[in-house]
Symmetry: C2
DNA sequence: TATTCTCATACAAACGTTTGCATTTGTATG
DNA sequence: CATACAAATGCAAACGTTTGTATGAGAATA
């Protein structure tokens, strides 16, 4: 029942020439008579001939495809990364196989395994799990690999990251600049990014001559609902005299804003809040949320660029780059107070 | 420099047996001596042999891969669809090549073209463009195809949709039930889904004995910022006596809520608002937004299921299904008033 | 007329796998 | 001892390309 697609052999048969001549004719080789060329091209068009992709891949030992292991695909930041990756791939003639791992180490492993069978020319990876065993195998197989967002330091690869520590530092420093003295930190799971942001927080606090207070540092494991960390932020807000909060996620920050309304604390007057990522919700929510830009699209573009360059230049590069995508604090209403910023309207 | 991966031939050579025996040994065929089997399996493990995916594909004429053409990947609904698709693929041993078209017809066409070269076993498609010429070619090539979210009626394929008209009807009816009499409609681009939702709106309005008022129906082309349609909703809100709004997107609905605050209209007391999709923001915003559930994940699962079933049963099915994923109105604060619902707290 | 040259085309190998069929070896049966 | 049969393995084709090398015909040169 299934119609077999036209092959160069079929075309050759109809024209009483060999497949190789057809192949060369379609490649516009100078070796073939222009008459024959014309006939071949015509027939190919008539039957809408498309070269078989798999055969080409086998022959050339390249699939023109990359694999993207991404923790979450329902996520503004990772969605932007994916869009960036795809945009660059598209303009370079590559396709993307996407493996959302949903932060599940098993999915991560099975994704990597699938990619070891030669179905992709390279891999883009935001490493979440603990098992780097399989990544090691990828590298041993000489499959080009670029980390984005998070990286395992122990591998010699390109990396595309933001400077999480600096970003955390800048966010906290901004709170200090608008007059906050007792600043809380609330983060999601204790992953490497959040640890670095916390380091930045600590640095800024220390520099301002404030002692670091452990009860002001909270990790929330709230995976329920929309990951707003409502309960944990409530706990944090019960600390007497707290007048600033740095949340490692815009969602957590919005959770804080919500809780503030309940206990009748005014933002930014009584307490300043800053989030992280510059998600749509930070623009839309009221009060609008100050945050740190996390440029996912640019990160995706750059990561794909490095990967595809490496694929095209297969001799192992000796200088692996760590590209830091610049970030900046975006000031909105939730921190609009103090010396350098007008009061919120 | 590039290390060639181990092949079945390499293993055979080392063991002084032919590739075919190795192949059979690894497949645990009864045709091969258990001694040999053991040796082969051991060596394969030692070298971490992985069968070449491309060779397998060429041989079996199947890539165990599907293509997903999706309008937008930074989008809660489409992200959920993608997650559903990927989940089902994962559990069926398939992979997904993702082509975000960004609503660009050229991207759509180039995606379809790429998929015609035999690199995928089937295609999942949310059709946005006007050009169905290429889709026709896909079908002529007997490449299994399933539409999701939107469908071109002219093709004989499976479809997985929501009943947009009914959803629009239910949303509008809900507004009527909570006492709205002069109900505005605000939608994004005039695509097929929005047209159907509008039809539902009109039906509900008519049934309630209200005349349809064209000035209450607005399409917004606002692609700026976060697509909140702020200007257009402002226009809509200037209509005297308006006391209900159905927005075809949660983002548009939030835009309405924002504008309401500016002109000091109270929601839900003065005007009830309902959105569409049940995005995170509808839960988080204040007032929380009533909306219509649009179950992306289920849609993705079902679409992948139909596609993979069709791939596995290649004889053209005579009964193409149109699966309607059920939707329901989710009542929150923005419509919490009237007879059957308690007033908002 | 014989040699060389050019042009156009065909042949065959290669990519890595599976699989139908043939071959080899050994053992049991008549 | 010859035949049959089973078990284990090898051979070769096939999937659809590209590409290096061989082959053929015709024309130009000596």
């Amino acid at each position: 029942m299934k119609k077999k697609p036209i092959t160069i052999l079929d075309i050759g048969e109809e024209l009483n020439i060999s497949a190789s001549t057809v192949s060369r004719a379609l490649a516009d080789s100078s070796l073939v008579n222009s008459e024959t060329k014309k006939k071949v091209v015509e027939l190919a068009k008539k039957y809408n001939y498309q070269p078989n992709f798999t055969a080409l891949s086998l022959q050339s030992n390249s699939t023109k495809t990359i694999g993207v292991l991404i923790p979450n695909v329902v996520h503004e930041f990772f969605g932007l990364v994916l869009r960036g990756v795809e945009d660059h791939c598209h303009s370079s003639g590559y396709s993307c196989i996407v493996y959302p791992t949903n932060e599940d180490p098993d999915r991560e492993i099975s994704g990597i395994k699938a990619l070891m069978t030669g179905r992709v020319d390279g891999v883009l990876l935001s490493f979440r799990g603990k098992t780097n065993l399989h990544i090691k195998q990828l590298i041993e197989r000489n499959i080009p690999l670029v980390f984005f967002d998070t990286a395992d330091e122990s591998f010699a690869t390109h990396r595309v990251l933001i400077d999480d520590k600096k970003a955390g530092y800048l966010a906290t420093k901004h709170l200090i600049e608008v007059g906050s003295k007792k600043i809380g930190f609330i983060g999601g799971s204790e992953n490497i990014n959040n640890q670095l942001r916390l380091e930045g927080y600590k640095q800024a606090v220390s520099e301002a001559g404030i002692t670091i207070d452990p009860q002001l540092i909270v990790y929330s494991l709230d995976k329920s609902q929309d990951e707003m960390g409502l309960e944990d932020s409530e706990k944090l807000l019960s600390v007497k005299g707290i007048d600033g909060i740095f949340a490692t996620t815009d969602m957590f920050a919005v959770g804080v804003l919500k809780n503030l309304k309940k206990i009748n604390l005014k933002c930014p007057e009584d307490i300043a809040v800053i989030g992280f990522s510059n998600w749509a919700i930070s623009r839309v929510y009221e009060p609008s949320l100050s945050t740190v830009e996390q440029p996912g699209y640019e990160m995706g573009i750059k990561a794909a660029e490095l990967l595809i360059d490496q694929i095209k230049n297969p001799e192992t590069p000796s200088d692996f780059k760590t590209v830091l995508i610049p970030t900046e604090v975006i000031v909105r209403t939730s921190t609009a107070r103090g010396n350098n910023v007008a009061h919120s309207t």
